[in-house]
């Protein structure tokens, strides 16, 4: 199998310490009054150094955010419909941008479309019920003039976790 080029190929230089801070920060923060003191202690640095490095990692974009990760299903959004659209290649960029403006769309990507699955625009659409998702997708499809699509509802969740630094 060949993997075509996608983004994310530039190798950043991160120090060993920074990687340790990233590893600690991508776990679950303690609910004790001084959580960073605890995490800093685990890797043997001062709380001040830990916080300085953490702020730098956030500022430089290694971290998208520090905060609470919400489970959409537990928050009442039980239906999760990955919707795949067939978009004309000349307008896929414009349509992707438009799709992203809908608040119910949480993720939106253009993907390489293999011959046996000819969809190139992917949007994750959440709703309280499947019916709500279907209604929303129909409206979007109509407004963007995208009539070839499939909603792939999830029927079972095998794994859902957050990425930790690799290797």
């Amino acid at each position: 199998m060949t993997i075509k080029k996608s983004f994310g190929s530039k190798k950043p230089r991160l120090s060993h310490r920074d990687r340790e801070v990233l590893k600690e920060l991508t776990g679950d923060l303690p609910t004790t009054p001084e959580p960073y003191l605890e995490l800093a202690g685990k890797i043997g640095i001062s709380e001040k150094e830990f916080l300085t490095r953490a702020r730098k990692l956030l500022r430089e974009g290694y971290l998208r955010k520090v905060g609470a990760i919400i489970s959409p299903s537990r928050a009442g959004f039980r239906a999760n419909g990955m919707t795949v659209f067939k978009a004309p290649s000349k307008s896929v960029a414009r349509l992707g941008k438009k799709l992203s403006t809908y608040p119910e769309v949480t993720h939106c990507y253009e993907r390489v479309a293999p011959p046996d699955f000819p969809y190139n625009l992917y949007a994750m659409i959440h709703g309280r019920t499947r019916k709500e998702v279907i209604t929303r997708v129909r409206k979007i499809a109509r407004e963007l003039n995208l009539d070839e699509y499939q909603i792939l509802f999830s029927t079972r969740e095998f794994k859902k976790t957050s990425l930790r630094p690799l290797g």
Binding site: I3, A75, K97, K160
Partner: protein, 147 residues
């Protein structure tokens, strides 16, 4: 969940303070005593409305190539394959979905070479052919749910 919980959730989804006493700072911002705030956060965690409190990595910035991978898998083979695939630390999402392609997962690896190697190793071990769907462009990735 009441209005105050909603306010706390809206606040801490993106702005958890990188400060010595983050809960005290959040208590100040919401105008409630720190122990009350912490108690509410603990309950939201217990109910799993908050899945985790912490940092979210930017895999693109870290230079991790990733792909969405799909397969057509007979129903009886799904759980076994899910266990096999789920063992890889770079697999963060794995779902059964409706449709001809019924098994979906996301994979991130340290290098492009690793990405191809992991996929072909999983194909060999499982005897399942994977459809690899690398992203060309990301238009949106949203981590904020407004309450």
């Amino acid at each position: 969940m009441d209005k105050l919980d909603a306010r706390i959730l809206n606040l801490i989804q993106s702005g958890f303070p990188l400060e010595k006493k983050p809960y005290r700072e959040l208590a100040r911002q919401t105008g409630i005593p720190e122990p009350d705030l912490v108690r509410r956060i603990k309950i939201l965690k217990k109910k799993k409305i908050i899945r985790r409190l912490g940092g979210v990595l930017n895999s693109e910035r870290l230079g991790y190539p990733g792909a969405l991978v799909a397969a057509r898998v007979p129903a009886r083979g799904l759980e076994r394959l899910a266990r096999m695939v789920g063992n890889h630390p770079g697999v963060t999402h794995c779902y059964e979905r409706k449709g001809r392609l019924n098994f979906w997962f996301t994979l991130q690896t340290k290098s492009r070479k690793d990405l191809a190697a992991v996929i072909s190793k999983l194909e060999k071990e499982s005897g399942i052919r994977f459809v690899c769907l690398p992203s060309r462009k990301r238009f949106k990735i949203n981590f904020q749910i407004e309450f």
